[in-house]
Assembly symmetry: C2
Homo-oligomer: 404 residues x 2
Amino acid sequence: MKNISGGVCAPKGFLAHGVHCGIRKNTSKNDLSLIMSEQPCSAAAVYTTNLVKGAPLTVTKAHIADGCAQAVICNSGNANTCNADGIEIAEAMSALTAKELDLKPDDIVVASTGVIGQPLSVEPIAAALPALAAGLNPDGSHEAALGIMTTDTIAKEVAVEFTLSGKACRIGGIAKGSGMIHPNMATMLVFLTTDVAITPAMLQKALSGDIQNTFNMISIDGDTSTNDMVTLLANGMAGNAEITDDNEDFAIFMKAINTVTVGLCRMIAGDGEGATRLLECCVSGAADEATAKTVAKSVICSSLLKAAMFGADANWGRVLCAIGYSGADVDVNKIDVSFQSAKGEILVCKDGAGVDFSEELAKEILLEKEIEILVSLNSGSASATAWGCDLTYDYVKINGDYRT
Amino acid sequence: MKNISGGVCAPKGFLAHGVHCGIRKNTSKNDLSLIMSEQPCSAAAVYTTNLVKGAPLTVTKAHIADGCAQAVICNSGNANTCNADGIEIAEAMSALTAKELDLKPDDIVVASTGVIGQPLSVEPIAAALPALAAGLNPDGSHEAALGIMTTDTIAKEVAVEFTLSGKACRIGGIAKGSGMIHPNMATMLVFLTTDVAITPAMLQKALSGDIQNTFNMISIDGDTSTNDMVTLLANGMAGNAEITDDNEDFAIFMKAINTVTVGLCRMIAGDGEGATRLLECCVSGAADEATAKTVAKSVICSSLLKAAMFGADANWGRVLCAIGYSGADVDVNKIDVSFQSAKGEILVCKDGAGVDFSEELAKEILLEKEIEILVSLNSGSASATAWGCDLTYDYVKINGDYRT
């Protein structure tokens, strides 16, 4: 398993491109992205559990009900959510894309991200599609990654290469993160591609299983988006023996997906709105995995702890507090807490009570860009990891006037 | 029912005082408060559901197990939580207070608020108690209210007068709020006093019932404190016929408590850490009360909506989003949303979709200090209200280096 470049275009037969079509006011920012496979694909997806769902999710769900798709169209700047004509617009985006690529509309995955509740005009999309399609190329992942960004500050691309039955295979992905991120059985906007041959059912099983430990374990701000979606297209062009059941190849494939999704998780959390630090809470010694996950997510979601991390303040009482209200059944008198970064590790709480520690070393550790919060429950052998970021002035600034 | 001054000293026979004893570094801030009744009291209390509990809660719970108490001692600046000797210190605070007031230790309610996980020395408290007790006076509520403040910017006192069977009765209260506020079956630090004659059982029933619609409906930051507690002492000195069951007098008493607690709720939410605006989410038309409460709390807790309110941005999509992920079973296509303040009311969403509205008027309405977010679910007749505040730069600043 090795990391490679190329993002969604790393797997064989995938092309991508991104352009500015005019939905966003800033003409220097891409706002429309297209990904296409040269061959038909098995398709899988997971969606937000928010009852308020973007129209594109409804349309995508219908389109890939047959387990097949071949292209993805996604705009930023407008979520096409809570609009009376939302479905109609999402269908029009699909139809226009299909026409341009000579595909069927129900082979198109359609997605939108941005402001909720503002009508989305299909006109700029229609006008831009011919050039967007003409520009599809095997090095287009970065332009596509740029086109799905909202308040993201960096484009998010990951790809890996691995071997299945002697054939070189690849998985790539791009993601849009930043705000309104608190997945619950679903996730933020992520498009994954692979050249592995796999049935739609096994592809869905792989994706649904993976997100439980990856995208479902991120929180930027506790707000579950209306437009969260992860899709995974597999075109089979690597030429491996098609994965049809839960065999050894499937296990390797799962591991490869996990490498890509954890990579994207860390990029999404580290680039959370206004974030200055990536926080990773690693819970060990839990009685069961559910407890470990509940504790890890509660710590990552605490506004007070997030603000303390912004200030590089080793306020471990807030870690204990967040564990205490998490709803998990834990013995608080057995909990140990340490902070860790590239500068070292420091124990701050043992058996649920404070220990003497060097505030100077703690500060030095917490001033790093990537912080691990290590929680030992000392009650079993299960573990879990959750990702988040600090709470900063800029989070407030970004969200104080997002629409204008 | 009329609002009166006097806080916890408004009811007959209650004295209070507050001093600086040295737990807080700033010598101009009170950090130790005492409330005493001239007569023994029926006592009731509710506590945080956080598994990590401050030692004072455990001690108070034991002390009022017999339904009786006569005084309250409370320090700020240190929560006495997650300390190995916490129980010992809380017992010592009680014993010293009891000795000074010539009461039994188990007639003392003890409370602490401040940093978690730092040893609390009883010495400054012991040294200050003689002067604190000597200073007890019938106008001392304000000094006591000052002594329980942490990051609060204003002292919180409310009192009302009402009549039970021809006798003038009073209920008063002081509160400490500001941060780490997200009650769940319990609340922040609130001390209530009354001169009503009522049995301990009915007093507990009144308090436990009231907080479900008041203190349990506030959220500043989603963090449930380790030290939340509300106590209510009733000394019977108003001379009313003792309330022993769920009769008409009990109903009047409940209404009076509610007036005091809603008053304190609004003060706590409006003075949330860094807050510039009080937010009140009023949900109506719900199928049942549980749904109304779930929706109201979810809206009030949304970091994104709170940041939008700071920016006076009518971003109603975030209201819909928060309703959608609340877990409540609602028909999103029936939801109406309006914003209201002293400047007027404006409908921004009808049947789950946006309506044309004047951004100028919306801005004018949202620039006020008290904002109502009106949500109509149009699916029944149940309603609920939740209180919160906006998310601001100052929340981050206050919590970025709270310990130093």
